[in-house]
Symmetry: D2
Subunit: 278 residues, 4 copies
């Protein structure tokens, strides 16, 4: 018997939890876990309820909507593995981590393909019997290359696109195709060191911690909603290239955690912030 | 308008959240936050609901009990500051931290008195205009000294007793007077290095992290339910006495966090484990 | 027998460690610990040698200089407690931590006085029998108030000035009086959230870690060399005011660590970065 | 031009650093980094000097020995990749991490083969074109199976043997073949939860942090010198099986760090403790 997840988001008002749990109780499902949150700044209510038991989805959704404000967003997920395309460049660590976890079913995802603007990682990807598409940017105008990439991505009709150290900035046109479905790993604790060469910026500034940030991509570079952040301590013995090395482990860890949360339907957007039920 | 907290603990069964939130909804109180948890191992349900609004306590409790299994434990707290007695010996850092936080009302507590088996900390305590009782153990038989301490503690009728680096082992007789109301800070990440001189044990073992553990005291030494634990990295340059110094900050931080949680009615016991709603 | 510390900084060249340790060996002192570092970016050599044993300071310095390049900076410290003035505003936690550590001689410092632009913390400071000077800014032009503060500070001829949550921006004129002797605690992991209200900025950005930074103050706001940084994880349940509370503990911890390092002569400047021998 | 490393260990006495750096200076090599440590408890001196430049190894060693006490242990390493055999059972995460890092030359090692008592991980290992030997224990007496494993290991004449979640206890006979050359990852912050099923022990004890420990294996189970330890926070929502999952990432991170340190000749033994020059 598989678990399902009910996801609710609406303006707050009294009685919401009572109403929603009443519907589930009357339908006789077995609630495994229930997490709710009211964002005081926006007066918005979020709830994620995991439950076991067969249920008529349309009936459940209708009954839940009946106890909620009109503007409520209600989703029912059966936690099927998400369809995912990964974009990469030359660095292997995040990509390797994802495809190893994929192989051992640690991510709730089907990795459909890897697309890269360099051929470097093809041998790695081939070992895992996954499609690898090398789309070199070469002399192509930026928008032409990006259109090729977008076209290839869309062939797979993915639920999510993951930028696993894909080192090209994407245009609003590309980003707009995947609202809250495009996850990036940035190699700094944002908002510090947005943009290019964050470890070199960090070295120049003489920081004593470096970090990584997994976030949804939006039109503004490195400014989308943050999903996971983590840091590691560093000191004066770390030259810029040592920071790059020290950062790899935290990058792959942060991205893996973010993907797990997103693919298990644990992440809500709340303006430019995230509400995460873990 | 003050906040109140409803605390519920009972065997799990379907519909509990629906039932409890229904009572609160019908009484018209404004729920600020709601946290619940089912412990799978014991099939036990825990819930903490913080709400604003005047309410007839007896009426609320009766109505909540009516929707719960018979064995349910239900409490209503108005989050009044807890009455607290602190026991100490010679080390100042945890005690100083508590009385500074007390002065600035950062702990939800009234520190009623400090009792110590050494006079070392009397000048510190006097600065803060708190009663200080020096009860030296001297040549006294252990049980006689402990009875004196117990007697002095009980004069204050405290809700909680805090052992802020009190370096005497307490007998089951003493401990039995304060079930789940006696909080200790132990200077290791338990269960590693229970008992005496944990930092020296840690040095001998060559560990690369040290830590501190705040826990409720039970009959078995350093084996009670853990409330908060935290560690700090160390390395070969730390001699035993350096570990002692390095541990001070984490001890006072861990104890302060545990006290905040306990005094805000955020801690449930679940066998020898704790459920903490933070 | 007290420890002394030899501090050397110069352009790197072969044989420096051999030369310096040779001088100490011939003078018959007992080296307790020896730490050296070459910054590859600037090709600069740093060394801190702690030793026991009576020694003629002038003779030692001359002998060391003789084996070093001309531009070498060589200092001999006998680790006397540093003379310190603390500036504060209304927030108590960093100041209270400093004066408790001072009372128990945990910082290698004499706190000479506390100067504040509010009277809030006077009762706390008086408990510890330290001079407290309330210099309200009131309607005063910024430069007039700052001159009053500077004047009061200088009366104490401090080695270091500590900004323990002093909430006024200091002019280059003030800062210029205390090169590498003015330590500030900023309540964010710089360079993120420089300037005013960092916790509110952090909330708006939806970060998953917050932090604190202790740094030397330079002319550019919040841009001086970083001494210590640390972070704490946060999540969507933290409103801006919760971030403020969560940040207090890390602020006081970070400042205390930085002061210990600075007052024990463990911090070198290397451009806008610090080299720290701990 | 490759780096070399001089490793010295001997009873402490004045002038050691001066003497050793003098030899290197006279031989005209370029010292890249120099780390030394005196263990106060054992009065033992340790030094690791990394240098560039061609040098006659025998001449260097003789010259260094001439300035040291008779009992000194002196080694010269050219940082060639270490020859490594990995033992595994069914769990993939540590093994996968090692062989991915191996593929991308992130460990200073040649992985010669993987030996396992289960066939589970064969497909993974084959993807990376490494020899995989399945030696099932089946009905074999423990010592017979172990002898088979030992025999297979020794065929590869490895410098180091890594237990990457190999779930069989090794006898003193096996362990004795690889003094300070047998590295294990234990899934708890030792000495807490030595032995079997540490995560289940941790759940029962209700700890708020779990961790992992990489250590050299000695005759006493889980009691050898610790190389790296790290922890992750957990709470009441983690059932025993959740702790297992939460621990995986920290296990593989801790093992990878330990292997990097060991394979780069950064780890000295000091009794049952380690001195690590990183």
């Amino acid at each position: 018997m598989k678990s399902s997840v009910l996801l609710v988001e609406c303006p707050d008002r009294p009685g919401l939890v009572h109403g929603i749990t009443g519907v589930l109780f009357r339908l006789g499902v077995n609630v495994v876990g229930n997490l709710e949150f009211v964002d005081r700044a926006s007066r918005r209510f979020f709830m994620r309820t995991e439950f076991d038991g067969a249920v008529n989805g349309a009936e459940l959704l209708a009954a839940v909507r009946a106890v909620l404000p009109e503007q409520a967003e209600v989703r029912l997920s059966h936690l099927e593995p998400k369809r995912v395309v990964v974009l990469a460049s030359k660095e292997h660590h995040c990509l390797a981590d994802i495809i190893v976890r994929h192989l051992f079913k640690e991510l709730n995802a089907h990795v459909l393909a890897v697309i890269a603007n360099h051929a470097t990682l093809e041998p790695l990807v081939r070992k895992f019997d996954l499609p690898f598409h090398h789309l070199p940017h070469g002399e192509l105008p930026r928008e032409v290359h990006e259109a090729e990439v977008l076209n290839m991505v869309q062939r797979y009709r993915p639920d999510y696109v993951v930028l696993a150290k894909y080192m090209r900035v994407l245009s609003p046109k590309f980003v707009g195709q995947f609202p809250a479905r495009l996850v990036n790993i940035h190699h700094s604790f944002l908002p510090a060191f947005a943009g290019a060469r964050p470890y070199h910026q960090a070295f120049e500034r003489g920081v004593k911690v470096i970090g990584a940030t997994a976030h949804f991509v939006t039109d503004e570079l490195d400014a989308g909603p943050i999903i996971v952040q983590q840091v590691v301590p560093v000191d004066h013995t770390h030259a810029a290239e040592d920071l790059v090395l020290a950062g790899r482990d935290v990058e792959q860890m942060v991205l893996a955690r973010a993907l797990r949360l997103v693919f298990e339907d644990r992440v809500f957007l709340c303006g430019n912030r995230t509400v995460i039920f873990d």
